[in-house]
Amino acid sequence: MNRHPNDASEARSLPETDGQPVSSRRQFISRLAAISAGITVAAPLARSAIAEGTDLEGRFPRQDPEGGLVEISLKVNGRPEKIKIDPRVTLLDTIRDRLDLTGTKKGCDRGACGACTVHINGKRVLSCLTLAVMAHGEEVTTVEGLAKGDELHPVQAAFISCDGFQCGYCTPGQIMSAIGCINEGHTGSDTEIQEFMSGNLCRCGAYPNIVDAIKMAAQRMKSGG
């Protein structure tokens, strides 16, 4: 259960918590889970101290030995953010609940619908299947980061021109995914757009207008507009 003896020098140990008040809800839950899983409490607590001292400096998330929280820094829409977070929290929940950027939507929360699509370092990904700790040190762009002041991103403008939505719930994810689709060069035909946008579901069925919007935006972006 414990680390390899050779790495013992890198492991920092936690203060002994047995017999003392539990210091945080997180630890309490962790202890409960450990008990219900039928494993000793000592092992997971000791493991929460696993932190590769040198590796964690600067570049890597730092494990907080007190609360089991991890401090991460990331850039969201160009703004540096520093957050202490439970490692279980997804990037989606971090964006919405901690940073109050509620443009990114939670649809299925299982990687099946695309409503939560954001960009990490310019690539479209699903924020519901990304742990926030995994985005440490990365640049995240959400739908709020697209417009320049009052000037909409060409894809946003095209979605309005082409009426590329009805209820609008999937729209932020559609727009973030559409930018990826255009940047990747997959707008050669309606079929190609459909194939490379298949990860974004629209229950209203606005698909034909979404395809039109992507074609329009691709043209404008090619001509520098």
Partner: protein, 325 residues
Amino acid sequence: MRPFTYQVPSSIQKATSDFGQDAEFIAGGTTLIDLMKLEVMTPSHLVDINRLPIRGIQITADGLRIGALEKMGDVAEHPEVVSKYPVISQALLKSASAQLRNMASMGGNLLQRTRCGYFRDVSTPCNKRQPGSGCPAIDGWNRTHAILGTSSSCVATHPSDLAVALVALDASILLQDRNQDRVLKLDDFYRVPGETPDKENQLNPGELITEIRVPRLPSAQRSVYLKVRDRESYEFALASVAAALDVDGDQIRDARIAVGGVGTKPWNLPKVRDALIGKPLNQQTFEAAAKLATEGAQPLRHNAFKVELVQRTIVRALMNLETLA
């Protein structure tokens, strides 16, 4: 999601330390985080391997080498993979969605878990998830399940398209742990369920897939991945075929063929291959060979259609290759 601790090692040596039975590696996370939310998988420690130096796509004199952390999307669109190993590119592009392909690693793809609904639902028994608890799929809803390699313990299909293409091309994987490196044929890496469906492959605890090695094959350039499914995109296979042909005039010099969506592991078809080699390149040859694909098949109540479907998919795939003269 159950609590866990998290760590980001910077070397393979550190990543393959002994973290105990309930630790898991995480790369793209597209399978693991999904299954952790469902509490199908409940690791208490995550070892994030994304900073390990196991990347790179290289064509060498021996063939193709792909670092295990390369993203599915990057490999699919790599110009030399597209031109020299089209079956790999096509299998990847027909997997998941563009977003998931930007996240999921090549190594992780090979280790993804089955989509069997009973496996994913912790309120039902499942021998793969909870050994000895039973298999409701055998007498339950089994339209998408396997007809080849099944046992009385498990009938779940292996979900990877990439693995089918790699098995067809006789690919190997490099496995590394603290003490040793070893190379295994991917076909030998996967296990049929037998009485232990929870043991899906030959990976040891703490061992990592670090590289995929595809041999240089004359047939690879003329290869195809054909996937039949309930919807045209963003769906798992009902039946899929990875096929490669090397031809000499009107004669088949070499053939490689494996099928997906029908087996408990990516299903290699050496008998079909033997039935193609040395034969004339035509539909009669393909149809005769395809019949051998389902020898020993054990259809269930809802999936008997897969027997004919996979045979026809094989013929269609080979006919696609025939026209690529």
